[in-house]
Amino acid sequence: MAIKHGSALALLAGFALSIGSASAENVKIGVVQGLSGPPAITDFGESYLQGIKLAVKDYEAKGGKHKIELVVYDDEANPQKAVSLVQRLMQNDNVPVIIGTVSSGNVLAFAPIMQKAGVPLVAGPSIATNITAQFIKESPSYIFRCSMVEKFQIESMLDWGTKTFKKIGLVHSTTGYAVFAAKEIQEGLKARNVQLVAVESAAPNVSDLTPQLLKMKEAGAELVLNFHESFELIYRPMAKLDYRPIIAGNWGLSSLKVLQIVGQKEIEGTVMGQALDMALDSSKAFVSRMEKEYGKAFRWPVIAALGYDAGQVVLKAADTAKTLDPKGMRDALEAVDGIQAISATPAKPFGPQDHECLDREHVFLGVWKDGQVVRLKY
């Protein structure tokens, strides 16, 4: 009898689970990333993908509920290609959710299509401010993000920069992303009643920033905001110009690749937006796991951490979704809770009016110190 009772209880529990979430299935997760093209794009795309793959590996190692299949495509940082790949993922591969991509312009090109089609997107590592903001009023919005948010890192940087320095200059590239970032910086400074002493730009494929840095030197800039995608270029002319301002900029400046190219001594003191506190044991453990997993191909802790967290969020949503269709995944994503994130992403990242993993309070400033990015105290 006792056995019969036990079986009945188990059946009931199973029934309860089956009406609470979908039963075990093969789940396809679409991933679009910039995996070829400009080096900076590739570094972002590969690092984020490494994080996603590790999250899937961990999920399977823990005996995850579903069998996960990642369908990965390379958009080559090309907006047209990104749009056609997203359409392919939705129509041919029938994925219930897509993660991607590096270029904000690409995301802004396909996000309206996904919103209209009702397929959820977890954007990343793109950082343009308006990616989720422009859809949040829709009911419901299908656009989420697990990445840095440009406005948050710029606000943190300007808070610190205007308190610490009198003369601030800006060097940015002429890409859509950087021009938009420059506009946000200028608006942020205007709100703080501060004016840039010099603003210089350069094409994304230039090989020398001597003229631009010379202008910064002439203007006496003590802090130079660097929003050029070739993060290392700004450092090169410093020795010959005998001019060493503090450099601050995009979270890309935390890449180990930039450290390797620029050199530890030269990069010391550089400040950037951050969302991974390397002082935490969890961050150190993650980095050592990534190093073990990917060897020299691992080069960007914070991007990989956000990729890992995006993977965790999507997998948790798959586990808790009532149905494994796009609508079910969207609802589950919004309700995901209990994430043990590596980055500063909170346990419950999203809500009906918040589709960002990282909010303003989670973004802080990092600084290169003794070959490591640590939290900047100011």
Binding site: A40, A202, V206, K240
Partner: protein, 299 residues
């Protein structure tokens, strides 16, 4: 602008101009003898920069690095002519056949890019200095700081081009190149080995790419897609010389590099545009290129 800053920009421009001169001379010599050129000249330069970087990082002495890179690139030049250009000669009579080499040389450039990506990865890299212990080796010239490597680029590029011109105008082999350029059939009747001469020009063009690659590596960031920019700029510079006048190419390259440097200082948002506009304007005024009439095209 202070005098020191003027010199600073001038020297930066001269260094890049010297690289453009080497690359454009490679385009010029191939075009002179065969009316074809290597659209992957910049990618050959990129490959040379990577090879040089790898050897330098492995601790190989600079002289040996230079020799190895030159030999490897010379072989690549031979291979390019042998497998991507010569087989197309048979198609010359077909419609559009005479332009097939554009596709094949670009195809080779793509292969080179992909090989580099496979071997060295997609990220940017920094090539170690050739003659300095660290990346901060600066000398003062008229109050302006210049990297030793930048000065070296200017000196070596100028010497290489002068040697190249000496070869072209003062040696029997150089005259053979000009004879082939004038008429391959006549040159053959005069006892010039036309096929060997054609191979030689592609080898020479690749050797110039080798030199540029070794020199440019330490002064720029090296990445697998850097070649196209150099090809485009060298093409613009070679057009300034009318693809026929080496002196025009040398002066055009220096002018291009210096204008690029100053225009980035004056208006950085469109800094790369002005040198190209200058080339356009000069070609409108003088379609035959700089000094076009002073030294006429032998063809």
């Amino acid at each position: 602008m202070s005098a020191a800053n003027f010199v600073q920009l001038l020297l930066s421009g001269l260094a890049m101009g010297a690289i453009y001169a080497l690359t454009a001379t490679g385009l010029f010599i191939a075009h002179l003898a065969t009316t074809r050129l290597n659209f992957g000249q910049g990618d050959f330069l990129m490959f040379a920069a990577y090879l040089s970087m790898a050897l330098l990082l492995a601790g190989v002495p600079v002289a040996l690095v230079m020799a190895v890179v030159i030999v490897v690139l010379a072989l690549m030049g031979w291979g390019l002519e042998r497998f991507a250009i010569r087989p197309l000669d048979r198609m010359r009579a077909l419609v559009g056949g005479q332009y097939s080499w554009i596709l094949t040389t670009m195809g080779v450039a793509l292969i080179v890019q992909n090989v580099v990506t496979l071997v060295w990865g997609k990220s940017s890299q920094y090539s170690p200095p050739l003659f300095s212990a660290n990346r901060q080796n600066v000398v003062q010239v008229f109050g302006a700081g210049v990297f030793v490597e930048e000065l070296l680029v200017i000196v070596v590029a100028l010497v290489a081009i002068l040697l190249f011109y000496a070869l072209l105008f003062r040696t029997r082999q150089g005259r053979a190149i000009y004879a082939v350029a004038f008429s391959p059939e006549t040159a053959a009747l005069l006892g010039v080995n036309v096929r060997r001469t054609v191979v030689l020009v592609f080898v020479l063009a690749s050797v110039l790419a080798a030199l540029s690659g070794v020199l440019v590596g330490p002064i720029v960031t090296v990445h697998p897609f850097m070649g196209l920019v150099f090809t485009v700029k060298a093409f613009a510079v070679a057009s300034l010389g009318g693809f026929a006048n080496p002196l025009g190419i040398l002066i055009g390259a220096i002018l291009f590099g210096v204008v690029e440097s100053f225009s980035n200082y004056i208006n950085s948002a469109f800094g790369d545009l002005y040198p190209l506009l200058l080339v356009l304007a000069l070609l409108v005024i003088k379609p035959s290129g700089l000094f076009g009439e002073a030294k006429t095209d032998v063809r």
